[in-house]
């Protein structure tokens, strides 16, 4: 019987814990649950570190990023903590202000791409039939072209403007996003609650906005995170090729290209921008993964049941 007594004590302790947990609002409990996974903490810290650096970094730059303050590829010193680049400019100052364009362009391109792809995917998944075929086959044709080269072609012919780059990168993402979201929308569109909404005569646009979008938010956010890292890589690549910004602008991608010949003299001019891009990419990826597993927690076998028991019949 001793086992039973201690078990009773345990169950009492458990209900105390449930009460304590229940005293927080639901959203705080969700956030705590999200950050209970290592990948969420690491992802959020890495991403936040780079974002903060880019946002407030320029305020702390020792020199204007385009001023010549040392010898080309000068080694690090107290005055120039990361040394100087090919033209003798302060690497630290250029690193601090070199992320703004890449990051904001990537963010814009991602939002545009996910929005466009999401819209196409949801329409294809909801309407099915002819509309689905039309949308998806057109996107298949787009996917058949080598996308990066296509983007390069457009930029070199039309000249580089920030908006054009954002739109091109978004157009590269849209077909891939559309494929993923279509699959998710197809599943949701087959659910009875969508059928019910049709049955009571809800117009299609309202059904898509109210019934389907909220149920594909998860995949949309995961796609957003994934596409954001691709955007960073693509735009940094375009910058490396000199298609995003012209010298002497400070830009991580451009810095790689300029300074790679001095890798032996002052490696920091290359390593630091590369490292920052890598950290950001890894951080966003971890965060996306963590979100994915957090969003799927309700469907996981053995998932915790809602903490409170609902009073009522049945």
């Amino acid at each position: 019987m001793a086992g039973h007594v201690s078990a009773a004590a345990r169950s009492a302790a458990r209900s105390d814990a449930a009460r304590a947990a229940g005293s927080y609002p639901a959203w705080i409990r969700s956030v705590r649950e999200f950050f209970s996974r290592g990948s969420a903490i690491w992802g959020a810290s890495l991403t936040a570190a780079v974002l903060i650096l880019v946002a407030i970094g320029p305020l702390f730059a020792g020199y204007p990023p385009i001023d010549f303050v040392g010898a080309p590829f000068e080694s690090p010193s107290l005055d120039l903590p990361l040394g100087a680049d090919i033209m003798g400019r302060d690497v630290l100052s250029r690193v601090l202000s070199g992320g703004t364009v890449i990051l904001s362009l990537s963010a814009l391109a991602t939002v545009l791409g996910v929005a466009l792809g999401g819209l196409l995917g949801i329409s294809a998944g909801y309407f099915k039939g002819v509309a689905d075929d039309l949308i998806m086959r057109t996107l298949d044709v787009l996917l058949a072209f080598p996308q990066t080269i296509l983007a390069l072609l457009f930029v070199s012919v039309l000249g580089s403007s920030f908006l054009l780059i954002a739109v091109l990168v978004a157009a590269i993402h849209a077909p891939q996003v559309a494929r993923v979201i279509r699959a998710a929308a197809l599943r949701v569109a087959g659910e009875d609650f969508v059928e019910y909404a049709k049955g009571i005569g809800t117009p299609p646009l309202k059904i898509m906005a109210r019934e389907i979008v909220p149920n594909v938010i998860g995949p949309l956010l995961v796609e957003g995170g994934l596409r954001f890292t691709y955007s960073i890589a693509l735009i940094a690549g375009l910058s490396f090729l000199g298609l995003a910004q012209d010298p002497p602008a400070a830009n991580w991608g451009l810095m790689l290209n300029e300074n790679r010949i001095g890798l032996a003299q002052n490696p920091w001019a290359v390593v630091v921008p590369v490292g920052l891009i890598a950290i950001l990419t890894v951080g966003v990826n971890l965060l996306t993964d963590a979100y994915g597993s957090w969003a799927a927690r309700g469907n996981r076998p053995g998932a915790p049941q809602p903490a409170e028991i609902i009073e009522g019949p049945l």
Binding site: A8, F193, K198, G199, I200, Q305, P306, I310, L314
Partner: protein, 602 residues
């Protein structure tokens, strides 16, 4: 604590002996099965009955010394044919499973490998030496009454029906003549006729080969049809165990009685009654009787300490100190079937429906009168759901004419007027899919309402709460999300959502088939009340004739897209005319031996 019952014929050790078995979560906090003790003779079938979350499947799996992830077997011994499974090494245990103990899963479609031929999968169960021997495989097929042909061995799982797949799974389990087979709701996904045949086969195999079997099910009538003894499980504990006839005729535990009262009996037109209160969380309470909160007989002692299993007759044990007392349950007398003035509300004329080119309804004509409940009965594939969807306007690939209030009713909901749409409401089978999981119940109800009426937000809220109240859901439910609700609560909410528009015709598409019997009883009670109070007409689609016995005034039987019989409920049940109806009645699982006898002579 408990002395095993020993009767003279039990000499030597039984085929299966389970003592004090516990299954706990890995952290040891919750006990999903507590103190389970069973004994089975060779060839005996023991039924384990319980509702969802009662731990019956966990108990069944534990007999193979297996647990789902996150669980572990805490205490207890399992001896099968003298072998203690608890002491076997993992590799040894792997060998024993399939030879000494076997498992038949609920869904054979997912248990068989879709990429391998049936013959290959059957051969895998045999000893390596025997695998080449095709005659042995053919023998296995004929043992489970499958066609013993080479071509059958060459087929793939997707080419077989659900009943055939389940027979293959049973053949695989019996292949090595194990001493114990655990069957986890093997007939739940099958229609009544197939179910009756599969049950028959299992009973014969167990008899012939002296294999002990555990039959896990939520359906007490199915268990009554196959098991010699039955164990009732509630919240992880066996609350009553005894010979089937004894337990069904004289249930000693209040829960068993309530459960039996909740099961619709096909031979008896009495209304069912649900179990008050709500089902406990998975896992056993340690300090008291788990059923006490829902029990009308409970005394303080029930809430203070856990009752022991008491022997009340040879082989009949019950975990209740008041097993001799009876609560005042309303007697099961015949229900007064009300004659409704049949003024046709909905009439369908020659409705034909298609899936692509295939015609699935071949010109169906029938009527639903105002305030009348019509049951649409048939086995899977009979076209009953398609017909219901046509009436609900959800299946546009159809032809024929329908009238509603003597006015033409378009087949496509998009062409119907808003007024018509609000007067015909559809309730779906699956309570888990009919609400948008991202919206609270109240918001879903309000959205339906705003589709038909322009109201201020406070008026809307009032109507939402009124609708919830009609289905006996508390107002707090409006803020809840679908995942917070149990299956029965969701189905109530779905009914509330249909009622909020003040409809005249409710189409209920198998709305109780995904629910436990006690919950099913509560829902049918609710529908019956609503029909009486509001004069609602209802079209109740189901494959279970027993459910509609005390609910519907008229029955329409369908088979293969045709309407084969139509008439008042009592007349159809007592004097079925068509072969299909006779078959449905004959094959429905029955409670009583008398009922089973009667069915044979139908």
């Amino acid at each position: 604590m408990r002395v095993p019952v020993s009767t003279p014929e039990r000499c030597g050790e039984a085929a299966v002996v389970v003592r004090g078995l516990c299954v706990t979560t890995a952290d040891g906090r919750r006990c999903l099965v507590d103190d389970a003790s069973l004994e089975l003779e060779p060839g005996e079938v023991l039924g384990i009955v319980g509702e969802s979350g009662s731990g019956k499947t966990t108990l069944g799996l534990a007999l193979l010394h297996h647990c789902r992830r996150g669980l572990c077997i805490g205490r207890g011994t399992i001896r099968v044919a003298g072998r203690d499974l608890g002491t076997a090494a993992p590799e040894e245990l792997r060998q024993l499973r399939g030879r000494l103990v076997c498992y038949v899963p609920q869904d054979p479609a997912s248990a068989l490998n879709p990429a391998l031929r049936i013959g290959t999968q059957l051969a895998e169960c045999l000893e390596p030496r025997a695998r080449r021997d095709r005659t042995q495989l053919l023998d296995l097929l004929s043992a489970v009454k499958l066609p013993p042909r080479e071509s059958f061995l060459e087929s793939f799982p997707h080419q077989l029906s659900g009943g055939q797949l389940q027979r293959v799974a049973i053949a695989m389990a019996f292949a090595n003549r194990p001493r114990l087979i655990v069957m986890d709701e093997p007939t739940t996904g099958l229609d009544v006729t197939t179910q009756a045949h599969v049950l028959d086969t299992v009973r014969q195999l167990c008899d012939r080969h002296h294999v002990a079997a555990i039959y896990v099910s939520h359906d007490i009538a199915v268990v009554a049809a196959i098991a010699r003894r039955v164990a009732v499980v509630y919240a992880g504990r066996i609350v009553e165990i005894g010979p089937t006839e004894r337990v069904l005729r004289g249930p000693a535990h209040p829960y068993t009685r309530a459960l039996i009262h909740a099961v619709p009996d096909i031979d008896d037109a009495t209304p069912v009654s649900g179990i008050p209160g709500h089902a406990p969380e998975a896992g056993a309470e340690f300090s008291c009787c788990s059923f006490a909160p829902r029990c009308t007989l409970a005394v303080d002692a029930c809430r203070e300490h856990l009752p022991d299993l008491l022997t009340i007759a040879p082989g009949h044990e019950v975990r209740c100190p008041r097993s001799g007392d009876r609560e005042n349950l309303p007697p099961r007398g015949p229900v007064a079937v009300r004659e409704t003035s049949v003024k046709p509300l909905l009439a369908a004329h020659g409705v034909r429906a298609f899936y692509g080119r295939r015609e699935v309804l071949h010109g169906v004509t029938f009527e639903v009168g105002a305030g009348e409940c019509v049951a649409l009965v048939g086995e899977s594939g009979s076209g009953k759901t398609t017909l219901a969807r046509c009436i609900g306007g959800l299946h546009a690939e159809a032809r024929g004419t329908m009238t509603f209030h003597c006015e033409p009713l378009p087949l496509d909901t998009r062409v119907r007027s808003a007024a018509t749409r609000r007067r015909i409401q559809y309730i779906f089978q699956n309570p888990y899919g009919s609400f948008n999981p991202r919206r609270s119940i109240g918001a879903s109800l309000a959205l339906t309402l705003s589709q038909f009426e322009k109201l201020t937000s406070s008026e809307r809220r009032g109507r939402v709460l009124a609708a919830l109240d009609q289905v006996s859901l508390p107002a707090s439910m409006a803020e809840r999300y679908p995942r917070d609700l149990s299956g029965g609560q969701r189905q109530r909410a779905a009914i509330a959502r249909a009622l909020i528009t003040d409809p005249e015709l409710l189409i209920c598409d198998e709305i109780t088939s995904a629910l436990d019997v006690s919950v099913q009883a509560v829902i049918t009670e609710l529908l019956s009340d609503l029909q009486r109070e509001r004069g609602l007409a209802m079209l109740f689609v189901t494959h279970n004739l027993a459910v509609v016995r005390g609910l519907a005034q008229r029955i329409v039987v369908m088979q293969g897209g045709h309407l084969v019989e139509e008439g008042p409920t009592d007349a159809v049940m007592r004097h079925p005319q068509s072969d299909e109806t006779k078959r449905l009645l004959r094959d429905a699982p029955r409670f009583t031996a008398a009922g089973r006898e009667a069915a044979i002579h139908l």
